[in-house]
Amino acid sequence: MKHLISTRDLTSDKAVAILDTAHDMVDVRSRDVKKLPTLRGKTVANVFFEDSTRTRLSFEAAALALSADVTTFTAQGSSVSKGESLKDTLQTLEAMGADFIVLRHSHSGVAATVVNNGWVDAHIINAGDGTHEHPTQALLDAFTMRSRLRGETARGMDLSGIAVAIVGDILHSRVARSNALLLRTLGASVTLAAPQTLLPREIGGWGATVVSTLDEAIETRPDVVMTLRVQKERMSSGFFPSESEFSALWGMNDSRLSRLPSTSIVMHPGPMNRGLEISGSVADSAQSTVTEQVANGVAIRMAVLYTLMGDSR
């Protein structure tokens, strides 16, 4: 596998292998020498057309942990808005020696376009393209679920039998899309909870159950409740009337947390709107995995870089 563009690229075996390697990477991160020489001499270019400090730093940490050299390109704002500049930027970075390009962009399909058009020869990792996908996020979420719910014996296991509820702005969320796909590949069952305005049309093929409110989702006693970031701009386009109504019906709060099994976990990809999609006390509770998702992100990204390097075809 030369690129990671979509979670569709991952079979269950490939995904489990990445989770297992990430397990070993977590181990490395806990030692005195937190680095491996695996990507020594290789260059990883972080190309972030859409701002995201946390994801960028996570990829940077992963690359450095494998002894790769890191170069960063950010283009805040819309000064770089035409496709030609994207092509030029990437070809320039490759000419400067980039072996891996980690690409985040606000347009859906950018990573696929780069690969399909053969603009560069480097390995492409999709770090989030518009409202399409965010594969490494789905992988670190799956890893977090597996570690928390299967514990130390998780090696080699997928997520069969685990029930996951994803709640919030599914329509605009690449995290939701990637997760829904990967969870299904790994054998988990998925329930989506959102107002109809925030659900994509014709998602029968996603294999997920759709319910209207978070309370309905909680009634199914999920092992995982994944909350998604809400963009407040959605209110002015008529997706939902107000913050208070949104958090009343789809916000994860203490009362709802108490109705979940005590072994269930609450997740959020970050950054959080405390009080909107997730209350502060739930975010800080023992059942919340928000901080370990960040740590797992570095290990997963190390595993992904390692997995792609072997295949230059």
Binding site: H105, S108, G109, A112, R174, P200, E202, I203, G205
Partner: protein, 434 residues
């Protein structure tokens, strides 16, 4: 100059000879009169010269993608002898001066009759009416008015426009797309757009405008033409309207008769078009609608674009596909070879009917003695993978590249002058000398 076409199958039927003298068809039948030029049409189907009611020639202002000359050549290569040029040029064709300029350049190029379409609103802004009367009374004699590219979305303005245009015997060709329902929309709203995370273009945005417009047309007693119908629901509305006696005509593009939104899964912007490609159910219903006459004509919506606006991400890419050269082949593939249409029907939907809607003279009695000599000869048995050597405009954004398509234009005759000989376009100097 006299031309004798020998042994052509008229409308795919009986073999016949056609004798052309100057710009007119003198005789049709078994002919032995000597002629300056003899075309052996054995094995070829004779059709009237094709008439496109919807094309973008980009000149003035967009010459990087196409010019009136290059677009005319592309049209002739596709068997067309009349092309209507949409008004969304730069500047917009909203005055008599502009439409006369376009008509004159078309005349100078000499490959086809270029009929300028006039804008409905000034600068396509959707606020004030354009100089409709001026354009109608100009040398260009505009009869079709359209803001295509944009929808005339305001109901009051559409009412006024319908009323005003009918004063001059013209017709409004509406690009049906409710602007409020399609903000930033780039792909049919459905399973594929949900999967790809692309903003969807809901079918109801087209259907609701058509529904409104046919009722307006009925109310004010005006003619209405609907551009590039793309959904099964739109077909239902038009069928209902026709049953009611409303004077509405409709067109469909070749690509909407063949391609579906699954093609967007590759994120290749060659498939990005407005209105977007829909589903297989829509394609099937559109084919049936052409067969039963609910959709009156096929019009190409030839939309050339510079390479740089397609060699980019889906989001950034321009909307549109070229289609003049491939139209007849796609129609044969999607409608004739599937049994929906006969070649006589093809003559109707690609020549007679569009000429009627556009009030173009000379096409009412196709391939008949006394008519203008606008003829195209097609080798329907030819089959090949569509490639860029078949494209003759300035742009190559064709969604059919790589698809095996039947048919090849072997000859096009425009007002008695050959523009395509033995499958090859005549070059501009030769044409000027003829």
């Amino acid at each position: 100059m006299t031309i004798l076409i020998r042994g052509a199958s008229l409308f795919g039927g009986e073999k016949s000879d056609i004798y052309i003298d100057g710009d007119t068809i003198r005789d049709v039948g078994s002919i032995s009169t000597p002629a300056d030029r003899v075309i052996d049409a054995n094995g070829l189907i004779a059709l009237p010269g094709l008439v496109d009611l919807h094309s973008h020639l980009r000149e003035p202002g967009g010459e990087g993608a196409e010019t009136i000359l290059s677009g005319s050549r592309a049209a002739a290569a596709g068997g067309f002898t009349t092309v209507h040029a949409m008004a969304n040029t730069s500047p917009v064709a909203d005055t008599a001066e502009l439409v006369e300029l376009v008509a004159e350049r078309g005349r100078h190029a000499g490959y086809v009759q270029v009929r300028p379409i006039g804008a409905v609103t000034r600068d396509l802004a959707g606020e004030q009416l354009a100089d409709i009367g001026g354009m109608a009374n100009s040398h260009a004699a505009v009869t079709v008015f359209s803001d295509d590219g944009r929808c005339v979305g305001d109901a009051l303005l559409m009412r006024r426009a319908l009323e005003y245009v009918s004063t001059f015997g013209g017709v409004i060709a509406q690009h049906a797309q409710d602007p409020r329902l399609t903000v930033d929309a780039v792909l049919n709203e459905g399973r594929v757009s949900s999967e790809l995370g692309l903003r969807g273009w809901p079918r109801v945005a087209e259907e609701s405008i058509i529904a409104r417009d046919v009722l307006l047309a009925e109310y004010v007693g005006a003619r209405l033409h609907v551009c590039h119908v793309s959904t099964a629901g739109s077909v239902d509305v038009i069928r209902w309207a026709k049953k009611r006696g409303i004077e509405v005509t409709a067109e469909v593009t070749p690509h909407h008769l063949l391609l579906t939104d699954d093609l967007a899964l590759s994120y290749d912007p060659v498939f990005k078009v407005n209105p977007p490609l829909r589903t297989a159910e829509d394609v099937e219903e559109l084919r049936r609608a052409v067969a039963d006459g609910t959709i009156d004509i096929v019009a190409t919506d030839h939309a050339p674009h510079a390479r740089s606006t397609k060699d980019c991400t889906w989001h950034d890419a321009s909307f549109g596909m070229v289609g003049l050269e491939s139209a007849l082949s796609v129609v044969q593939h999607a409608l004739v070879d599937t049994g929906h249409l006969s070649w006589s029907d093809v003559a109707r939907v690609l020549s007679v009917a569009p000429a009627t809607i556009g009030r173009v003279e000379g096409y009412a009695a196709p391939l008949a003695a006394g008519s203008l000599a606008n003829i195209t000869l097609v080798d329907s048995a030819h089959t090949a993978q569509w490639d860029s050597s078949r494209l003759h405009g300035r742009s190559s954004n064709s969604p059919f590249l790589g698809i095996v398509l039947p048919g090849r234009i072997m000859s096009t005759i425009f007002n008695g002058v050959e523009t395509v000989i033995d499958g090859e376009l005549v070059d501009p100097e030769t044409l000027r000398n003829t």
